[in-house]
């Protein structure tokens, strides 16, 4: 019996900051505290740190430093990507039905399983009058490529599909998506003036520690990353913008970040995030092996010990760290509270945990019935997860599920 253990299995929500990251940030709070826009030595010191970070991130993503924009959060990166592309084709005028170019009215495509930072931005644009297609997914959470191909029109300006899903871990075939998006027939027939091909954006927030971030191999034009998902500090994000991709600013002020993300650069956070990304890449191979082994142990243990439950997401094309289960005839928040009382942290797609009483749109899109979505639990592992912790979960979870099912026996 391992009573009193504290087991954090919610790394997909956020990760602890690497000690090396804290160390790297330290001088930038009150020693090298300058404004990176200032001309004096303090300013130049800060500017150097920001530009070194930009160069390092660019190296990891296999792009040019000027293609990297530092932003506020993952959410702001997503917003800038989507609203920025739409804005560059005459945003609000277009939304109100006035056509631009040679008759083109921008059309947008995304998937039904995006993070709310993407999904809600598209829903907002839809309300403004834009045409948006929300692509369906199969039962594994994989975007239907045939439907994507059919959805693209001469006036499509933007396609946004996440790299891997944060709730179930399914990895999308971005490379194939890129080929479809970027192989539109004769650009001359396209109805938009400065989009010879649609722009492809991906939210890669869930992937930095485990998947290849080479933007050229992925074939994306825009890619979002968020610092706190890979051992960096909260409050800073990255947006990769391929050279010549039409993106307009969505907030206004100074000339910072090529004018696309105005506001004084958060130097300590940018330095810390870059260090965290470097470490994630350095440890990637060993993390994948270790985390995937523990994940497999958790999956087989849960499926073996607990009746009436199943794994969600793709059986093989999935992130090494995310496991998501549905436990029939139990409610997710009740499971989380019981687990929390025993020191285990996880998360749920149940309506009761969402704050707005809506069950997970991801699981619903995968065709899982609402009453089963209420019983969904995600355990997301991290580089610090141990085998002992998985053993503890496998000891506690079957008892929790069985207790709660006893409470509703016969219903």
């Amino acid at each position: 019996m391992l009573r009193g253990m504290k087991v954090y299995l919610d790394y997909a929500a956020t990760t602890p900051v690497y000690p090396e990251v804290i160390e790297a940030m330290k001088p930038f709070w009150n020693e090298k505290f300058g404004n990176a826009s200032s001309l004096h030595s303090w300013g130049r010191e800060a500017r150097t740190a920001v530009e070194k970070s930009r160069a390092k991130v660019a190296e990891i993503l296999n792009c040019q430093p000027e293609e990297i924009i530092f932003t506020g959060t993952t959410t702001t990166s997503d917003n800038l990507a989507i609203l920025g592309v739409v804005g560059s084709c005459g945003l609000w005028v277009v939304g109100r039905g006035i056509r631009v170019g040679n008759g083109g009215r921008p059309h947008l495509i995304t998937s039904q399983i995006e993070h709310h930072a993407v999904l809600d931005t598209f829903k907002y644009l839809e309300k403004q009058g834009f045409k948006v297609d929300f692509l369906p997914v199969d039962k594994y959470g994989m975007v239907d490529l045939g439907k994507l191909e059919k959805a693209i029109r001469p006036e499509t300006v933007l396609v946004s599909v996440m790299y891997a899903n944060n709730e179930v871990g399914t990895i999308q075939p971005l490379n194939e998506i890129s080929k479809i998006v970027h192989s539109q027939p004769n650009p001359a027939t396209r109805l938009t003036t400065h989009f010879s091909q649609p722009v492809l954006h991906t939210d890669a927030a869930a992937t930095a520690e485990y998947l290849d971030l080479d933007v050229k191999k992925l074939g994306v034009d825009l890619m979002t990353l968020g610092s706190h998902k890979f051992g960096g500090p909260k409050g800073v994000g990255i947006l990769y913008i391929k050279k010549d991709t039409p993106v307009s600013p969505i907030t206004f002020g100074g000339h910072h970040e090529s004018g696309l993300w105005p506001g004084t650069e958060a130097v300590p956070l940018i330095v810390g995030m870059t260090k965290a990304l470097e470490l994630s890449i350095k440890y990637r191979v060993s993390s994948i092996k270790k985390v995937a082994e523990l994940r497999d142990k958790l999956i087989s243990g849960v499926l073996e010990k607990i009746p009436d439950c199943y794994l969600t997401g793709h059986p093989t094309l999935r992130l090494p760290d995310i496991t998501s289960f549905v436990f029939k005839n139990v409610e997710g928040e009740a499971i989380l509270l019981r687990l929390d009382a025993e020191g285990i942290a996880a998360s749920s797609g149940s309506a009761c945990t969402s704050g707005d009483l809506r069950p997970s749109h991801v699981l619903l899109a995968m065709g899982i019935p609402a009453e089963e979505v209420h019983g969904s639990i995600r355990f997301s592992l991290g580089r610090e997860t141990t085998e002992e912790e998985i053993d503890y979960v496998l000891e506690v979870l079957p008892r929790v599920i069985s207790d709660l099912r006893n409470l509703s026996k016969g219903i």
């Binding site: 005839n329 139990v330 409610e331 997710g332 928040e333 009740a334 989380l336 509270l337 019981r338 929390d340 009382a341 942290a345 149940s350 309506a351 009761c352 945990t353 704050g355 707005d356 009483l357 069950p359 019935p369 609402a370 009453e371 209420h374 006893n406 409470l407 509703s408 026996k409 016969g410 219903i411």
Partner: protein
């Protein structure tokens, strides 16, 4: 306590972690199921109602008054749904029917030391279960 349980009062957590009166009454004479699985919360309440045989001076009970002798619940739902079900059974046990019918969701929430606003509907569900089970008892008498 930190984490998600800090959303709830100690009393809610106590009733959630140690539910009172859970299960089914084999000799129930009033039963109700409310809520539905698609919304995520289902509560089933069973009551054993009997008529008091002697006049009880202390509680001013009339002879023959209908009393909820026992109450048990089964709930499929979130922490608040389980806690409201549990405390509702405590609040109606031993009470005359006419008093149990006066139970309000506010009284349940108050007895639990408050509920987060998004969980008020759970206390409404518990009241609905009590009223429906009493109605079932009365229908059976017809």
């Amino acid at each position: 306590m930190t984490g998600i349980s800090s959303l709830y009062s100690e009393k809610v957590m106590d009733h959630f972690l140690h539910p009172r009166n859970m299960g089914e009454l084999p000799d129930a004479n009033g039963v109700a199921t409310v809520g539905n699985k698609i919304c995520g919360d289902v509560m089933r309440l069973s009551l054993k109602v009997s008529k008091s045989k002697t006049k009880d001076q202390r509680s001013k009970r009339e002879n023959g008054e209908e009393i909820i002798e026992d109450a048990k619940f089964q709930t499929l739902g979130c922490g608040a749904a389980i806690a409201t079900s549990s405390i509702a059974t405590e609040m109606i046990k031993g009470k005359p029917l006419k008093d149990a019918l006066k139970l309000t969701n506010q009284a349940i929430a108050d007895a639990l030391g408050g509920l987060p606003p998004v969980k008020y509907h759970c206390s409404v569900l518990a009241v609905e279960a009590v009223r429906k089970a009493i109605k079932d008892y009365k229908n059976r008498l017809k």
